[in-house]
């Protein structure tokens, strides 16, 4: 339990830690949490958020969202914005899995349509979307294509008949972040990634068939803006990232950054906070490589979507277009991006690191797709495989308070080993089936590690961010089918 005596309560869901808390803090830290979440938060979050506050060029606050837990350097659930000229970029502020993120697809199916076919559907998707140790994808891209793929992201997919025409517009950044440069990515990263497109990975990654859950929450008016018109409408959610490609990019540049800090006179409180000036050659090289990895992840999720559409089409004997399987949206939750923000009375470009945090842009923002611009950017916050997830929208308050950022998930409370001690995978699988959730997992150990008890209460996390005005709830989604690596 963290020491809350050092904090100043700002609202019922936000707490500040002043710069006097630790020598070297350039800005205060701000924690978003109910008292209940705060009391349960590991004290590592406070330590890490206040360490991040010491980094050169950080502006306003070092943030920790309601799902925050201890990470490497930055807490998971951490957000920090930096002056692009005087500030730093940190691979630890992005995470190993660059653009780990969430994609949500709707269907026009109702639960009564899907329930009798859930096993057939999940089993088919499991066979089409590889998951687990060392899996290879079915897409045979070549290393020579990687430059274009990681530069153009989902737009490349659309140009090569691997995406629907309207898919790119429904992905953050239009499906690709500008600034990619494959020459800044190592041969090892390219080799690792080239055969992994369309794979789910393992750990906390999943593909879930979900049903709208009005008993938990549903704003029918807002939901309708996303094509959600039934109280039991079926959706599909995908959670995965940039696979070995992104991990290798992070590993490569952590090494470069650690050895480069002395040259720039940067000293950090935690080795995992290795950082260099964003304006430096190495900083720019990492950014370009990170963008390649982010675009890789967008493409990875696109290839998976294609397989999901194929599976639904085969099981329901209708084409995916007739099943209205359009993207609602795709969000990053591990990334650093240059964005325009207003703060302290002026507008500026800042480098926003979101590590286990989601962009939450409000109504009217030009980066929100035209279809949603009047209401705000869709935000997808994923819970554990037992508790379900949420669709929300971004707000103007997020723009004012958190550089347009909100939480990303429920956050772990228990280690993988501890979770496996509490429950066996096979037993958990049976229990979930009894509760109406059919799970197909690559390994039973992996399943046990992802048990719901290992995570915070997603509803409490989402409620916190809603009460803070940072992201507004639209619909709760409960799982009925799940694929885990």
């Amino acid at each position: 339990m963290p020491d809350t005596s050092v904090m100043k309560q700002v609202s019922d869901v936000s707490w500040d830690i002043p710069v006097s808390y630790k020598p070297g803090m350039n800005v205060p830290a701000r924690i978003y949490a109910t008292k209940k979440l705060l009391d349960a938060m590991d004290s590592g979050v406070i330590e890490q958020a206040t360490n991040v506050a010491c980094l050169p060029g950080i502006v306003r606050y070092s943030y920790a969202m309601a799902d925050a837990h201890w990470g490497y350097g930055f807490p998971i659930g951490g957000v920090a914005a930096f002056d692009t000229e005087k500030g730093v970029i940190s691979p630890g502020g992005v995470g190993f899995d660059v653009n780990c993120g969430m994609r949500l697809i709707r269907t026009n199916l109702r639960f009564s349509d899907v329930k009798p076919k859930i096993k057939e559907l999940v089993d088919l998707i499991f066979s089409l979307v590889p998951a687990g140790v060392g899996v290879k994808g079915s897409q045979n891209f070549t290393q020579s294509q990687m430059g274009d793929i990681t530069s153009l992201g989902v737009r490349w997919c659309a140009e090569n008949d691997l995406a629907w025409d309207d898919d790119p517009a429904h992905v953050e950044e239009g499906g690709f972040i500008k600034g990619a440069d494959i020459s800044k990515v190592s041969r090892q990263a390219i080799s690792r990634g080239v055969s992994q497109f369309g794979t789910l990975g393992s750990g906390n990654h999943y593909l879930e068939i979900q049903v709208v859950d009005p008993a938990r929450y549903l704003d029918r008016g807002l939901a309708g803006e996303f094509g959600i018109i039934y109280d039991d409408q079926v959706m599909v959610m995908i959670h995965c990232g940039s696979r070995g490609f992104g991990h290798q990019v992070c590993s490569d540049y952590l090494r470069t950054f650690e050895s480069g800090m002395k040259r720039f006179g940067i000293d950090v409180r935690d080795r995992d906070l290795a950082c260099l000036p964003f304006a430096s050659r190495e900083g720019q090289d990492y950014y370009s490589a990170m963008v390649c990895a982010a675009n890789f992840a967008f493409v990875n999720r696109q290839i998976i979507v294609n397989k999901v559409r194929e599976a639904f089409s085969r099981v329901f004997r209708k084409d995916a277009e007739s099943l209205d399987m359009h993207l609602i949206y795709d969000v990053c939750h591990n990334v650093a991006k240059v964005e325009n923000h207003s703060y302290d009375g002026s507008k500026a470009k800042v480098l926003v690191h979101r590590k286990g945090a989601t962009r939450s842009f409000g109504p009217g923002h030009p980066d929100v797709p035209a279809a949603y611009r009047s209401i705000g950017q869709p935000v997808i916050i994923g819970g554990s495989m037992e508790t379900g997830s949420y669709l929300l929208i971004g707000t103007q308050k997020a723009m004012e308070d958190t550089f347009g950022s909100t939480a990303h998930g429920s956050g772990r409370t228990m280690s993988r080993t501890a979770a496996k001690r509490e429950v066996r995978g096979a037993e958990l699988q049976r229990r979930m089936l009894d509760r109406g959730i059919y799970v197909k997992a690559a390994t039973m150990d992996g399943l046990a590690e992802e048990a719901g008890m290992a995570y915070k209460d997603i509803s409490e996390v989402v409620e916190t961010m809603d009460r803070a005005g940072i992201s507004k709830k639209v619909a709760a989604l409960r799982p009925v089918g799940n694929i885990k690596g």
Binding site: Q188, G244, C250, S251, R416, T443, D445
Partner: protein, 140 residues
């Protein structure tokens, strides 16, 4: 040479501690730990041999690079290795290693977690008394 997992070190990932009387043994223990996270080694054959020859600026970096090579081999060539013979130079800045294993077989192998990267968290090779020791946290 031994390794043991540390259940409370990393919430979302997996950590282990390894020790050995020799530096060679430490590297072998760490490699075995990485494999153990990914597969039940008793289900892994030894029909494929791969040699590794690495140079680095320090013992820490050498171990980091060696374990990273194993992760890369898993992703690029679908190889998992269960037996290691490592020879680290006296300066600790280069090694020659022979690893024995086989290609991933999803039917025969009892696969576990997919290791994606070695983190720098708590990472460091120490020589304490007569023992070489290290702690490694792996991103899953």
């Amino acid at each position: 040479m031994t390794f043991k997992f540390l259940p409370d070190v990393a919430l979302a990932d997996i950590a282990f501690e390894a020790e050995s009387d020799t530096l060679d043994g430490l590297f072998e223990a760490c490699a075995s730990a990485v494999t153990d996270i990914m597969v039940d080694p008793s289900t892994l054959g030894k029909g494929v041999e791969r040699k590794f020859s690495l140079e680095s600026e320090s013992i820490d970096r050498l171990l980091y690079d060696f374990l990273t090579e194993l992760i890369v081999a898993k992703d690029v060539d679908s190889l998992l290795f269960g037996e290691f013979e490592v020879s680290v130079s006296p300066a600790g800045t280069s090694l020659e290693a022979l690893a024995r294993g086989e290609a991933i077989d999803r039917v025969r192998h009892r696969l576990r977690n997919d290791v994606k990267a070695v983190t720098m968290h708590l990472f460091g090779v120490k020589h304490i008394g007569a023992k070489w020791k290290t702690t490694v946290v792996l991103d899953i």
